[in-house]
Symmetry: C2
Subunit: 191 residues, 2 copies
DNA sequence: ATCGTCCCATACGTCAGCGTATCGCGGCGC
DNA sequence: GCGCCGCGATACGCTGACGTATGGGACGAT
């Protein structure tokens, strides 16, 4: 009767998936057991079979995001630093995960657990990108600032994409180009 | 008995202020009438005198933010474009309003009204900054991309600041410096 | 065929928050 | 001093969501 498919039996992944879309379009408070059950065409009897309680679902959802976002930065060996920069741009453009991440970040504002995970993720990203800059030849503290700038921009970009702003493909690309031209050996931050 | 002061009589502004802090530290769902009343040392009888219902409070809160954030971009006449760029940096560093804006943006993800306002705000900011670039002498479409990049970075920066990440003072400053060196007449985007 | 296991439905008690209705109080005008 | 009005308290019903308890059906193993 609903929009859900006719898959008769559910597993925890199904609940996490449903929770994911609910979080995206309604925020944390929309990740509620009974509404989810209704949308999936079952009752909460199902839920409490697979999960202890609502917090359990939420932390499973958080883990899910953490898993996804870390494996996006998996380094396929045999790529140059420039290749990886380009991959970051593409990864940004394909905004499939943007809505998810934006929702997670919004959630993080009011939940310390989530906040912790997001902070750690940001730190890892900054470190990764800084490594790329090093390979290109940017000097130490400047590379740090530039890397952080990229992380910041990525966060902002996802936010806006999730708000439905038609994200010009040029924004992050612009930044990357800026970086590429600027972060060359011998260029010091001052003057 | 609570932490609130002993101001005996309340106005709508007090409720909006309370709603503001509640939104910041608990998200939209924390902007609930009865909890707010408890924190303010009154009952909801007071609330329903000043406001029609909960949505009324929420939209008042949204208007409040819109008001504040537009008057932050008020141009004091007699400033050069570079002065205004610097002011943007400072405005960013003083993260007093960061938490508020981050909360608003998080809220916007699940509310079309809010989303609309935020989008409009972003557009105005981008336009304003693009104007600054024009004064500096950057070419058209490139200035557009750079301006948008600044808006994006600002959004991301506020997010992270609200998450408690110790925001290095260098990030936006770095961007501004990048811009200042790069956005000079005669520099085209390609090659 | 029977049994056990997995998965879900049903029914129930509880609680928090919304909105309404009604009453009470303090101060101000006159 | 009296009435009036701005503001808040109290009490009520209602809804939605949480978590529990218990029962039942489908399906494979033996």
């Amino acid at each position: 009767m609903s929009a859900a498919a006719e898959k008769k039996r559910l597993g925890p992944e199904d609940w996490v998936a449903a929770a994911r879309t609910a979080l995206i379009e309604g925020g944390p408070s929309a990740v509620a057991v009974e509404p989810l059950a209704k949308r999936m065409g079952v009752t909460k009897g199902s839920f409490y079979w697979h999960f202890k309680d609502r917090p359990a679902l939420l932390s499973a959802l958080l883990s899910e995001w953490e898993r996804r976002t870390t494996e996006m930065f998996a380094q396929s060996p045999g790529e140059t630093a420039l290749d990886r920069f380009a991959k970051l741009g593409d990864l940004q453009a394909s905004g499939a995960e943007s809505a998810f991440e934006a929702a997670i970040r919004g959630w993080a504002l009011s939940d310390d657990q989530v906040s912790e995970v997001v902070r750690a993720t940001d730190a890892r990203r900054a470190q990764y990108i800084e490594g790329l800059f090093h390979e290109i030849g940017a000097t130490g503290e400047y590379a740090t600032a530039l890397a952080r700038l990229m992380v910041v921009a990525a966060a902002g970009e996802m936010q806006m994409a999730a708000l439905g702003e038609p994200t010009p493909p040029s924004t992050i690309a612009t930044l990357v180009r800026l970086m590429a031209r600027f972060a060359k050996p011998g260029l010091s931050p001052q003057r």
